[in-house]
């Protein structure tokens, strides 16, 4: 087989290359030819194709995502913003925290266990690359109907994959989501959020600076797995039968190797042995070399023959595109090389010099003595195509909004409604899932699921900690992407505050259908606008995120599903607020309740109805509520707090009673159905032991209503319903085991 070298490419300008099969359009191909002044070699085409794919280049989303930076509130804490592997915020005490969400949706549909496992692996390496020790994981998950046979295939595999990988890495899983909706059948959403902690002056960057510095590949060997995954698997629409339209190329994760990589890197960082570092994710070596080079001195020379291979038959194009997991690329000064290699050897990590930094402004890659790549790295990594795609408000949106839930018959027997609601798959207890996750490892988990947010201690001396929550509601976003996205932001923000932490930064994972569908593009643009405006208003900058397009079957997209992650800060984790009621505490409702059922869990569970308008969002009110919750926690005024979201007050009361093992005696004014099941935003319940918190609310102008007291062994709502806790617990906790055991 002859090598398609640079000189051969120059002398065979008319040789056709299968660019279309690699997902490269004719215009894009011509653009590559213009950049290079000749046709690309097959290796160059491989690199451009993966790097210019939607997944790596954000070509359809870029024009919108800019708003996050443009509208970003000023924030002194932000050490690293969007654009790097993950954003970094200063949390004081010489420490910084980095966090980000990633999706691994399509791979998890094809091979649930490995898809989800490698999803964890990928985001963990992003966090590690920033110089941080990964300290926690959250896993927002969405599947088709709970009783669908394909859900029975996908869900257990996904959960086991996350558990198998995360547990083996020693990362506590402290929260997530579990949502069922027919729109995710064939398009499960597997998003993983990872949090890391690093010294504030220890941020690492993906840059190859310093002529003569050595480029090393370390970690696992390169194999044929996942070839084309980035451009083919990760962004190809599935056909109508729900089978992958293109041949799947599955990656298998090796968490043990990743664990060694983590410890090895942290030791290397501690001794300040790298100039730059980049993880190998989608697009593997193509991505790492071009990104490192273009962010650095500008040039790099790589000898591809030196790459340690698992499969000796790999072609250079395949080596460049391989997505083999558990690999990193570092740039090291020659004087530090020996020590670098010594640490790798200590951890049993294979490390190989594959090239060096140059000042030529070119990335030059050779193979078997021939030059096979000679490109300006920036053109691959950053100057990809940018599309301002056409947008159109969905044709059915007006009809959908006009179909208000007001037409649905409201229940008279609220006891029955309550029991059906708390056992609906979306509201039922999630222990079948979450008991598979190690929540304790590292010994710093202060709160974990089913709490409103996970809380991790980051400084054992002072008790400084962070809280993280991730939320999304595809039904709300379907009805109104702008408002729905702000509701997701508001919910995550509120969840963080409910545990006593001050929200300081935002990450997001935007899961949508095809950007080539103008209606999807409109949903996307509206969501981004909503999030950017919302973050500006709340004063919490977006520090990073991820976009996943092409989540659709045939021409039917999923409900637009932005998942918003919020990071909060808590000075002393001993002051965190749990959600469980304690016997004798008085229960207060914060905020006011309107008759809001559009997109609600009640309309969905009882009638399969999705229509009307989602609840109103008032971010100023959210901000006030959060401040009161945080200040109340700081001053030790709160026994418990729990935010109200899906399923409304009823769900929150049930959860706090079950968590505390105590009943409640509650009396409500007005329409009991609305009071119990409306999903009005900006609300929480708290439990208190004296009246100081009410005074605080009065001072701040936050509406507070005493609704009852935690006591006894029943949930008793005056004149409405009464259910023994045991019955509630059975109704709440048996559905998932019944479905998936």
């Amino acid at each position: 087989m002859s090598i398609d070298s640079v000189s051969r490419a120059a002398s065979t300008p008319d040789e056709p290359l299968p660019y279309a099969d690699l997902g490269v359009s004719k215009e894009e191909y011509e653009r590559i030819c213009t950049i290079l002044g000749r046709r690309p070699t097959s290796s160059e085409l491989a690199m451009y194709s993966v790097m210019w794919s939607e997944h790596c280049s954000y070509k359809s989303s870029k024009v919108h995502l800019r708003q996050f930076a443009q509208k970003a509130p000023k924030n002194e804490r932000m050490l690293v913003g969007m654009g790097e592997n993950a954003g970094v915020v200063d949390v004081g005490n010489g420490l910084a925290v980095t966090f980000k969400i990633e999706s691994h949706n399509h791979p998890s549909y094809v091979e649930p266990y490995q898809g989800a496992a490698t999803g964890v692996g990928g985001i963990v390496r992003d966090i590690l690359t920033m110089g941080a020790r990964p300290v926690a994981v959250l896993d927002p998950l969405r599947f088709g109907p709970a009783d669908a046979s394909d859900t029975a295939r996908v869900l257990p595999g996904v959960v086991a994959g996350i558990a198998g990988y995360g547990n083996c890495l020693g990362l506590p899983t402290i929260g997530g989501e579990l949502v069922f909706d027919p729109c995710y059948a064939g398009n499960p959403l597997v998003n993983v959020l990872c949090v890391g902690v690093l010294p504030a002056d220890g941020v690492k960057y993906a840059k190859a600076t310093g002529v003569g510095n050595i480029v090393l590949l370390f970690g696992a060997r390169t194999g044929g797995d996942g070839i084309g995954g980035a451009s083919v698997l990760a962004s190809a629409t599935f056909d109508d039968e729900g089978k992958p339209a293109k041949r799947p190329s599955v990656q298998v994760g090796d968490p043990f190797t990743e664990k060694l990589l983590i410890e090895c890197c942290l030791e290397i960082f501690a001794e300040d042995l790298v100039v730059g570092i980049q993880d190998l994710g989608a697009a593997g070596i193509s991505c790492a070399t071009t990104e490192l080079a273009s962010a650095g001195t500008g040039g790099m020379r790589v000898n591809l023959d030196t790459v340690p291979l698992r499969d000796q038959t790999l072609a250079p194009e395949e080596i460049l595109m391989s997505e083999s997991q558990e690999r990193m690329c570092a740039v090291v000064e020659p004087a530090k090389l020996d020590r670098f290699l010594e640490i790798c050897a200590k951890w049993g990590v294979t490390a190989t010099a594959i090239g060096e930094v140059t000042d030529t402004g070119r990335l030059e890659i050779s193979w078997r003595g021939e030059s096979i790549v000679d490109v300006p790295p920036r053109t691959v990594a950053h100057d990809g195509p940018v599309y301002d795609r056409p947008m159109r408000r969905p044709a059915d949106l007006d009809a959908l909004r006009a179909d208000s839930p007001d037409r649905l018959e409201r229940p008279t027997d609220l006891r029955k409604t309550l029991l059906r609601m708390v056992s609906a798959p979306n509201l039922a207890g999630k222990r079948w899932v979450t008991d598979q996750y190690d929540r304790y490892v590292q010994g710093n988990t202060v709160l974990a699921q089913p709490e409103d947010s996970g809380v991790i201690r980051v400084d054992e001396q002072t008790g400084l900690g962070v809280a993280v929550a991730a939320d999304g509601n595809g039904r709300y976003t379907r009805l109104d992407p702008y408002q729905g996205t702000q509701l997701a932001l508001a919910e995550a923000y509120r969840n963080v505050a409910a545990t006593g932490a001050t929200p300081i930064a935002v990450t997001n994972c935007l899961n949508y259908g095809s950007p080539e569908d103008p209606e999807v593009m409109w949903q996307f643009a509206e969501s981004v606008r909503g999030l950017a405006d919302g973050c500006q208003q709340l004063g919490t900058p977006v520090t990073g995120g991820n976009v996943s397009f092409y989540n659709q079957t045939g021409t039917t997209p999923i409900n637009p599903t932005p998942v918003i992650g919020v990071l909060g800060l808590i000075d002393d984790v001993a002051r965190r607020t749990p959600s469980e009621f304690a016997d004798g505490a008085r229960i207060l409702l914060l905020g006011d309740t309107k008759d809001e059922f559009g997109g609600s869990e009640w309309a969905w569970t009882e009638y399969g109805h999705l229509g009307g308008r989602p609840p109103e969002v008032d971010l100023e009110r959210e901000r006030l509520l959060a401040q009161v919750l945080v200040d109340g926690a700081k001053d030790g005024l709160l026994v418990a707090a729990h935010d109200l979201a899906d399923g409304g007050l009823a769900q929150a009361l049930v959860e706090s009673c079950l968590a505390g093992g105590v009943g409640a005696q509650v009396s409500l004014t007005g329409d009991a159905f609305v009071a119990l099941f409306s999903e009005s935003a900006g609300r929480a319940i708290v439990a208190v032991s004296d009246d100081r918190f009410e005074q605080l609310c009065a001072e701040r102008g936050l509406l507070v209503t005493e609704i009852g007291v935690a006591t006894g062994t029943d949930l008793n709502i005056d004149g409405v319903l009464s259910v023994p806790l045991d019955e509630l617990r059975a109704a709440h906790e048996t559905p998932l085991p019944q479905l998936f055991d």
Binding site: E111, D225, G253, Q325
Partner: protein
């Protein structure tokens, strides 16, 4: 009674972390000269009467092996 054996192995191009861990451990235990190890699964199925080859094939394909990443072999 009939007994059928189904061996399930990761496809050759798929990474086998377990096999790799074993290969690397062997020299430390003083066993040199093993160049590669692949780890798979071994199922023994008992049938009361005679065995229908096609049924075993189907069982292996749907339940015992994950055809996305694994191959299997049947031995009766």
């Amino acid at each position: 009674m009939a007994r059928v054996v189904v061996d399930v192995m990761l496809k050759p191009e798929i990474l086998d972390p377990q096999g790799q861990a074993i290969v690397q451990a062997l020299p430390r235990l003083g066993f040199n000269g093993v160049t590669d190890v692949r780890a798979g699964k071994h199922f023994v199925l008992d049938f009361p009467g005679e065995v229908d080859e096609k049924t075993v094939q189907e069982i292996a394909d749907t339940l015992l092996a994950n055809p996305v990443i694994e191959d299997f072999e049947i031995h009766s």
